[in-house]
């Protein structure tokens, strides 16, 4: 209920934040993941650097054929941004499924990604979007793909001293159909299974399919076999079902109070089929 004491500073500039992080401070953005754990004393950072109000991190803009989203953009901003809704609807749709209104008002895309919760919603979409994350440290910047970034449960490619500066997602091509389908854990709202889909068609065949999965195992992933099974197909019910069946293949599936591994595996197939069908119906 009561966090342990810590030192706090609000970063005035991004450089200031980076300096602090290099010195061992933990970044605090919306705090939606970190603060509950601090209150339970599961997390006891000694120093926090508040990056939540850094203007340099709070933007959504289009450039170079991609959307650039600052790490401190809130879920609500992503959900309601006309730019994201128009140019990368999978991301705004997914954002609308995160937590609840109050959480979406405070929580940030960078914070969610850095936390790498295995049941968070964003990673499914970011995997399907083949998003790139710009990581910044005092020694410079590097760009890491979503596939490489999410390493394991709560584990990411972030090195000590590094923070997420920006998320880059592609502009969705005209006619691409997208969908995020999720079964909620009814107490916490986290995904028991969440499936993000992007499908493009050309000449009556599926020309591109991307499937991002969350909730199923220790980390989010792209179901590449299932994607391949769809590509080149017309998208019949049987083809959808066959592809969906590949989504939980070769994955170490989690089990908890709310869903056994068997049930999760089954749900992954059901929700994948639903997401594929929904995305297909929205594709042109």
């Amino acid at each position: 209920m009561i966090p342990q004491n810590f030192e706090y500073a609000a970063a005035q500039t991004l450089d200031d934040a980076i300096k602090q992080i290099a010195g061992g401070a933990k970044p605090l953005a919306g705090g939606m993941s970190l603060i509950p754990m601090m209150k339970l004393r599961l997390a006891t950072p000694e120093r926090l650097i508040d990056i939540g109000r850094l203007k340099e991190l709070n933007y959504i803009r289009e450039s170079g054929g991609a959307l650039h989203i600052g790490a401190a953009a809130t879920h609500h901003e992503v959900e309601s941004s006309g730019l994201v809704r128009g140019k990368c609807p999978l991301l705004s749709e997914t954002a609308s499924h995160i937590g609840d209104v109050q959480v979406r008002n405070m929580g940030t895309i960078g914070g969610s990604i850095a936390h790498a919760d295995p049941s968070a919603d964003y990673p499914a979409a970011l995997q399907a979007l083949e998003a790139k994350f710009v990581l910044k440290s005092s020694s410079g910047e590097r760009t890491v793909s979503a596939a490489d970034f999410f390493v394991d449960t709560f584990a990411t490619a972030l090195e000590p001293g590094e923070m997420i500066r920006e998320v880059i997602v592609p502009l969705e091509a005209q006619g691409t159909g997208v969908s995020y389908q999720k079964m909620y854990q009814p107490a916490s709202g986290f995904a028991i299974v969440g499936i993000a889909l992007r499908i493009a068609r050309s000449g009556g065949k599926i020309s591109m399919a991307r499937i991002g999965v969350t909730g199923l195992s220790g980390k989010s992933y792209r179901a590449i076999d299932a994607e391949k099974a769809l590509e080149g197909k017309a998208g019949s019910a049987t083809e959808i079902q066959n592809a969906a069946a590949l989504v939980p293949q070769n994955v170490d599936i989690n089990s908890d109070l709310h869903a056994s591994a068997d049930y999760r595996r089954h749900l992954a197939v059901v929700y994948a089929a639903r997401a594929i069908a929904a995305a297909l119906s929205r594709s042109a």
């Binding site: 933990k26 993941s33 970190l34 754990m37 339970l40 004393r41 599961l42 997390a43 006891t44 950072p45 850095a114 936390h115 790498a116 295995p118 049941s119 394991d152 449960t153 709560f154 584990a155 990411t156 854990q185 916490s188 986290f190 195992s217 220790g218 170490d252 989690n254 089990s255 908890d256 109070l257 709310h258």
Partner: protein, 141 residues
């Protein structure tokens, strides 16, 4: 909670068996292990700092090895307690040759208590698997 899995170590069974009981190696490979001190035959006192993203906590506990049957199997009993709760795990490790390597399968039971039991349900499975995987990866070198 039941927990089981299989990992591959790039050594023959005898060597794998020995490595998994080598306190110096264990001290370096158990995630978060800060010290491992022998307190009896096949019994060690351990201090560890678990850190998984934002979650962190200091634990003190014991590791015990029993039912030794080299190089086929032994039983591992781990206990630890800290401010955020406690963990007790017991499992049977079995070793079988797979070419030049060894397949190590484990089958056991993990009990947790305190805050981690009350709020961590969603994550206990994934977290314990992750820690075990990290451990084997480190052993494998």
């Amino acid at each position: 909670m039941k927990i089981s899995g299989t990992h591959r170590l790039p050594f023959p069974p005898e060597e794998s068996y020995a490595k998994l009981q080598d306190p110096e190696l264990l001290a370096q490979t158990i995630p978060g292990c800060e010290s491992l001190e022998k307190i009896g035959e096949d019994e060690y006192k351990m201090k560890m700092k678990m850190a998984l993203a934002a979650v962190s906590g200091a634990f003190e506990g014991k590791i015990r090895i029993a039912d030794k049957n080299p190089p086929e199997s032994f039983r591992l009993i781990v206990e630890g307690a800290g401010k955020i709760g406690f963990v007790r795990g017991e499992g049977l490790l079995k070793f079988s040759a797979a070419g030049d390597a060894t397949e190590v399968t484990y089958d056991g039971d993990v009990q947790v208590g305190g805050t981690i039991a009350a709020v961590g349900q969603r994550l206990i499975d994934a977290t314990s698997k992750t820690m075990i995987r990290k451990f084997f990866e480190k052993i494998a070198g």
